[in-house]
């Protein structure tokens, strides 16, 4: 992602989100259960993508903190769907060679006897390509 314009275009296309609809009310961030964990919050993702500041987002651990709970999607009064922006930035990162956030070799250390498959399948889907 050396060219910021291309990266922005890619995130906009991949997310399908119209970031210009955002009125910066902050409702998405107020309802986000991952708020405390995030350096950049859902409304900042939307705003920073609009301004083309993808590199900062791509370098931030915030992209791995989203819980895919769709609370911001449902509660945004303008139908912006911030979670889709977070996911598109994360995908732009992990689709690059060598950028997987989790590898299958990491899994055995995380296992416990009650852990459902669902958790491992979803972690691999969200964090690696």
């Amino acid at each position: 992602m050396s060219h910021s314009n291309n990266a922005t275009e890619q995130v906009l296309r991949s997310s399908g989100v119209d970031v210009r609809k955002c009125m910066r009310c902050g409702k998405c961030t107020a309802t986000c259960p991952a708020f405390d964990e995030m350096e950049y919050h859902p409304h900042q993702f939307v705003y920073m993508v609009e301004k083309g500041e993808i590199e900062k987002l791509a370098a931030s651990p915030s992209i791995y903190k989203c819980l895919s709970c769709f609370a911001c999607v449902d509660r945004c009064p303008r139908g912006v769907e911030p979670a889709k922006v977070v996911e598109a930035v994360r995908l732009a990162v992990i689709r690059q060679q060598g950028q997987n956030h989790m590898k299958s070799d990491d899994i055995p250390a995380l296992l416990d006897e009650d852990m459902p498959q669902q958790l491992l399948v979803s972690a691999m889907r969200k964090y690696s390509k």
């Binding site: 997310s15 964990e37 498959q117 669902q118 972690a123 964090y127």
Partner: protein, 259 residues
């Protein structure tokens, strides 16, 4: 009544009780869940990106099997349900995704979201009816105070899932009444437990799930029910509470006398 049924990988392993009690109860209530012959794991999270095609294929294959069998498709795991329902919505409403998926699959008859996807709870509400369930109950769970945990995936995104009012749902509470118990109404029932990060960020998962469990306890619940193996794992393991967390199908089977 017969339905195509997509159990999902977790219901074949750690989540066996959700499946087993669901099937036993279905037979007791007069409907059959016919497992799809050739299903594959749905991937557990809906791929939100417009340019993710390969990750949507297993959900579409399940939808196509059900269509070809001429049946509605029933799911039980909240996560499978969310993935399959949202993918079906894409196939019906996003022409670009539908075209690319259809090109890839090369089906005889292209698929465009024709299958009706139902969660097991919707079968109970809309196909069987809670009145009939109430009449079929042999051991009413009288005196039990049960907190229904919806989590996120059954309800959201509301306009796609169309399962219930996402901010003020009633389906699980009506289910609880039908089996003779009393539903507890509590604020955290549709807020996320942080299950998805339980593998890599246990501290975050512990924090979120403790908030959920404390709220259930504070409101007088003796049991928490869920339809999601990940919610169950996370709340029971990381919620720091002595309240039991069980699958709704287990209580249904108990009430119907088939447990």
């Amino acid at each position: 009544m017969k339905f195509s049924y997509y159990p999902g990988c977790t219901l074949k392993t750690k989540g066996k009780d959700l499946d087993r009690y669901g099937r036993l109860s279905a037979e007791a209530l007069g409907f059959t869940l016919e497992e799809l012959p050739d299903w594959q794991c749905c991937g557990a999270v809906y791929p939100m990106a417009k340019d993710e095609i390969a990750t949507k294929l297993s959900a579409v294959r399940a939808l196509v099997s059900a269509r070809d069998a001429g049946e509605e498709l029933v799911t039980l795991c909240s996560a499978c349900h969310n993935v399959i329902k949202q993918t079906n919505h894409d196939m019906a409403t996003d022409a670009d995704i539908a075209l690319r998926v259809n090109n890839y699959l090369g089906l005889e008859t292209p698929y465009n979201g024709e299958t009706t996807v139902l969660h097991y709870l919707e079968v109970l509400r809309d196909r069987v009816g809670f009145d009939k369930i109430k009449a079929a109950v042999k051991n009413p769970l009288t005196g039990r105070k049960i907190a229904a945990y919806y989590g996120c995936l059954l309800l959201r995104p509301g306009k796609v899932m169309q399962f219930d009012d996402p901010e003020n749902p009633t389906i699980l509470e009506n289910f609880i009444r039908a089996i003779g118990a009393e539903p507890v109404i509590w604020g955290m029932r549709n807020e996320c437990c942080g299950g998805y990060v339980a593998a890599e960020n246990k501290a975050q998962a512990e924090k979120r799930s403790s908030i959920v469990m404390e709220d259930a306890k504070k409101n007088g619940a003796d049991t928490v029910i869920t339809a999601c193996p990940l919610c169950l794992y996370n709340l029971a393991k990381n919620g720091g509470s002595d309240l039991p967390v069980v699958y709704f199908t287990e209580l249904l089977a108990e009430a119907l006398g088939v447990k």
